[in-house]
Amino acid sequence: DIGGKEKSIKGRFLHITDMHPDLYYKENTSIDDTCHRGKPKNDGDRAARFGNAMKGCDGPPDLMYYTLDWIHKNLSDEIDFIIWTGDNVRHDNDRRIPRTEQQIFDMNRQVSELFLKTFKDHESDDPRDLKVKIIPSLGNNDVFPHNLFSPGPTLQTRELYDIWSQFIPPAQQNTFDRYASFFVEAIPGKLAVISLNTLYMFKGNPLVDNCSNKKQPGYKMLLWVGFTLQELRDRGMKVWLSGHVPPIPKNFDSSCSDKLALWLHEYSDIIIGGFYGHMNMDHFIPVDGEKAWDDIGNSM
């Protein structure tokens, strides 16, 4: 690596997403009361220590702590990097405890610090050294208000840079301020992972419309994507994409999903694929680049 230390490559990496830890989660309360309060009506209504599948509560903090600890103990020596695709804050689902901007920043910071602590390289003299590289991306619940993320630079992009400063290469501070996107050389000079701020293309973000209008942040971010991909190609590097919201027509404005599909297609010599979260379900979507050209041609 750049510090001159030798690191062996294991040929494995982790994708983890959507932890949604909820600091108000209380074991043995009523699931119907968002696992925050109240006596359970019956055993099926009892909030379990590590949460209950399919009941709609957010994640108990213990689920996050024990998950990262389990990964650290069992897998951290086997992996080269971690792709972590966001949503690190509870949902806004309890009217008695609405989320605040400060809480969202604080929770993002806590989760980020937990990752740093868990994957710290204890053998290194440099306290910032990590055993594995970590590439976070921004979830629609990591911003305030929920889903709304305006074009940078803003207070939120600055705060996020501060929270993720150990994950984002310093040379990318300015570009991160504008697009909340960046990339990391997971294997220096050979393999990169791009963290895309998918909220600039997300239908659910009322502050953005499409990727056709030049004033839209999605349009500007696509310029960044293009220049970055070309530079990676020129350097002979390969790249994974990552982000929170999957780039499919269900979630993206079609001008954004189609354009991104074109980039995936025309840079298929270097792009290996993409990792996303948000939907909570394990599945895959094949994106057809040639069809995207046809669709755009027809629409014009």
Binding site: K10, G11, L14, H15, I16, T17, D18, M19, H20, A48, F50, G51, A53, M54, K55, D58, G59, D62, L63, T67, W70, I71, I79, A171, Q172, N174, T175, G189, G204, C211, K214, L222, W224, F227, T228, K238, P249, K250, S254, S255, D258, K259, H265, E266, Y267, D269, I272, G273, F275, Y276, G277, N280, D282, F284, I285, P286, V287, G289, K291, I296
Partner: protein
Amino acid sequence: AVSESSEFFEQDFLEDAIAAREIRAEGAKPVKKVNYMNGVRDAYYSRISEDVKKLSKKDPLYERYSIVHIGTSIIPTFNPGFRIWEYNITELQTEEEVLHSHEPWDSFFEHLDVEIQKIIEEAEEVEAFEDDEQIDSEIPDVLISKKKKKKKKGKKGKKNKNSKNWWKTDKTFPKKKPKNLPPGPAYENQLFSPLRFVQYYADLKEIDKQYLKLLKEGKSEDEAASIAFKYQVEYASDDKPYPMKTTLVKDYIELASELSGNDKLWNTFLERAFCSSGYED
């Protein structure tokens, strides 16, 4: 500008999508997720299945496709889960290190900022001109001042959207991939090709049962939690009933095609999509 698949999606699932978005906005019990997955099956996998024979001759590596991998979550919408990917590093162990002299990333990003800003400013200039033209076309000629006419003359030409190559002037469209470039790691097994994955999950019902049992036996809460909490392998990409040789695009396209026509496989796929939680709509 709605693509065929999105049109299909919008028609069939618009109501569900809106409802689901509203529900997710609040964070709630999963609803209509089988319906969503069936939509994915119809809109993507079945369409691929229709074309796969024709495509396998024309484009045997299925280079027209790229794969979007969507991961299961830690939040227990279903069971918590995550995935470990394995990729080809053989060449790293044998290749000789070649030192390249590239521009430092610092200067790349410095130029990048300037370049993007320039493009945006130019685009805004053209757009302002188009707006002027729009206004002018709505106002009778005699009312347009000489000054404005002069200004209009001197401005940059409007891009012709009817031209075949209109997209070449817009840098948010990629240039076509040069034909001499070989297929990437997603298509042919080489350095960094994804070869296999292992999906881990935590069976929350089982963990809770074990945790309560240990508490009854007199263990402390922390002891009981440490013993009871564990992740286990849910499945690997090369597991039955639909083992994938590798996890290249062609393996996914073949899997999509198989899933579209085989209900038994589809049920296993759904079970895995919901992280072995037993979810049904």
